[in-house]
């Protein structure tokens, strides 16, 4: 009897450990080299998909249905992503995934799956509220995608570089922002947001939560961009001057650092940026106007 209980307990511990290991976050990885070239979808069928899995490749695939309006908007977002980041994704018709490895996971289209070494690491679910913005907003999708996949030039990008080392097009030279000041004991936060953007709301909540403890270290300037064309143009000017090619909100600049999107995993990075830069900080707006 005691032996039986011991065996069952051991099995339960082993099962729990396996479950925990399986849920551990995947470290960001590179796809195969050939997927970092000029962006375009490669149409495949079930046989090609099975071959990629058999060969233990790392790739990303869009699951859609031809001429279906439910796929078309997400298709446009992915096309833009491929163009901006020079990547190549596969695409497969939902009607072709029957009997494949994908069928176990993908219940509805559109969807998007990321494979590492032939195994699926994550995918978007069309019936999950958490994934809705990832289908609709460029930065939301980019934020999710780059949790898993390294972009090709990330290894060469040093985000501690200051503006004196990076020559970017100065599009702020002639911009005049009233009520924006520079304080040598505070870093300016330029926060571009959209009215109705859920991640922007999350960021507002976060900023509100840190104000009491950290408010003495920063000055916050916010710009709504979805209903204000001037602010939308301003965001592009700030982003270009920072060397970014952002398409959406939230987009935030803290000193010499910029952030595309926002999630719980961004919070510490925001705090680090504030605390490392609040004294005599670099400011993209004031530096540009002084050139």
């Amino acid at each position: 009897m005691k032996k039986g209980i011991l065996i069952i307990s051991s099995l339960l511990v082993i099962i729990s450990l396996v479950a925990i290991l399986n849920k551990q976050k995947v470290e960001p990885f590179y796809l195969e080299d050939r997927y970092y070239e000029a962006g375009a979808f490669i149409e495949i069928g079930s046989n090609e998909l099975e071959e990629l899995i058999k060969n233990k490749e790392s790739f990303a695939i869009f699951i859609y249905q031809p001429a279906c309006t439910t796929s078309s908007e997400f298709s446009e977002l992915l096309t833009e992503f491929e163009t901006v980041y020079q990547m190549t994704f596969y695409q497969i018709a939902f009607s072709d995934i029957k009997g494949t490895n994908l069928e176990k996971y993908i219940q509805y289209y559109p969807s998007f799956a990321i494979y590492k070494d032939g195994k699926i690491v994550d995918y978007l679910k069309a019936d999950d509220d958490e994934d809705t913005t990832r289908y609709q907003l460029f930065d939301s999708f980019a934020s999710w995608f780059t949790e898993y996949v390294l972009l090709k030039n990330e290894a060469n990008y040093d985000d501690t570089d200051t503006s004196s080392d990076i020559k970017q097009e100065n599009m702020l030279k002639d911009v005049v922002l009233e009520n924006v000041t520079y304080d040598e004991n505070k870093v300016n936060i330029y926060f571009f947001w959209g009215n109705g953007c859920p991640h922007c709301e999350e960021q507002f909540s976060f900023l509100e939560s840190i104000e009491e403890e950290y408010g003495q270290y920063y000055q916050l300037y916010t710009f709504e961009t979805w209903y204000d064309d001037e602010n939308a143009d301003l965001m592009q000017r700030f982003a270009t001057t920072m060397g970014d090619s952002t398409r959406g909100v939230p987009y935030t600049i803290i000193g010499n650092k910029s952030f595309k999107g926002f999630s719980a995993s961004s919070e510490q990075a925001f705090l680090d940026a504030i605390m490392t830069q609040y004294q005599n900080s670099y400011d993209v707006y004031f530096e540009s106007r002084n050139e």
């Binding site: 149409e43 069928g45 249905q65 031809p66 001429a67 279906c68 309006t69 439910t70 796929s71 078309s72 908007e73 997400f74 298709s75 446009e76 096309t79 695409q91 018709a93 939902f94 009607s95 072709d96 219940q107 509805y108 289209y109 559109p110 679910k125 069309a126 019936d127 999950d128 509220d129 994934d131 809705t132 289908y135 609709q136």
Partner: protein, 222 residues
């Protein structure tokens, strides 16, 4: 003895009447409610969708419409996939949405879907009738006094049909976006794609189909 017989007959008559009444009374439908995720943004219903529609078929107070084309004219050689209506749910009758309103927004490599004449033209959210008969046809195919169950491939055309109908005065609480045929795994599937002759053909004769002959209609003078 006689009294006993009468009582038995009376009870039997009451039972038969009760059964007849219960058979004709239809269960009340849940109010339309969109489902979660991006499927909800297409208007697909949370309660009456691909996985539950079998429970709601053959209702006398309802009509069932599949909004796909028999053959979509998009350039499928460019992107793969099946342009044909290769199956449908029994009870649904096909009314191609692209015949009702102009469609846009498909991926560039597909090109355009049907670009011929339509009953209505959509401009800035407003639907303008192109033919004198446009509203009459719509009211005939989508009776306002019935519940309307809409379906297509993935829920897109069905959602757009609901938007059209509601904009033109239909009761939104009587219209259900059931979602997409591609997800249907119920017991009322009718297969149209036929491979039994060694090639691929389509048994379109199985499909209850509402054609709209635009040549016979009268254009609205503008």
């Amino acid at each position: 003895m006689k009294k006993k017989c009468y009582k038995i007959v009376l009870v039997l008559l009451l039972c038969i009447t009760a059964c007849a009444c219960s058979n004709t009374k239809l269960a009340e439908l849940p109010k339309p409610e969109v489902t979660d995720g991006i499927r909800g943004t297409f208007g697909i219903d949370k309660n009456i969708n691909e996985s539950t529609i079998d429970q709601y078929l053959s209702r006398k107070d309802s009509v069932y419409r599949d909004m796909r084309m028999l053959i979509d004219p998009g350039n499928y050689e460019a992107i793969g996939g099946d342009a044909y209506l290769s199956g449908f749910v029994k009870g649904f009758e096909v009314v191609p949405y692209p015949y009702l309103v102009n469609v846009s927004g498909l991926p560039d490599e597909v090109g355009d879907t049907y670009t011929g004449t339509t009953l209505f033209t959509e401009e800035d959210g407003k639907y303008i009738a192109n033919y004198e008969e446009s509203m009459e046809i719509l009211e005939y195919l989508f009776p306002k006094d019935k519940n309307i169950f809409l379906m297509c491939g993935g829920g897109g055309y069905a959602g757009m049909t609901k938007t059209l109908l509601v904009a033109l005065g239909w009761d939104e609480d009587k219209i259900y976006n059931v979602g997409g045929y591609w997800y249907y795994e119920g017991s009322n599937n009718v297969t149209v794609k036929n491979t039994s002759y060694g090639d691929v053909s389509y048994d379109f004769w199985k499909i209850p189909y509402h054609d709209i002959d635009f040549d016979s209609l009268h254009e609205v003078l503008k």
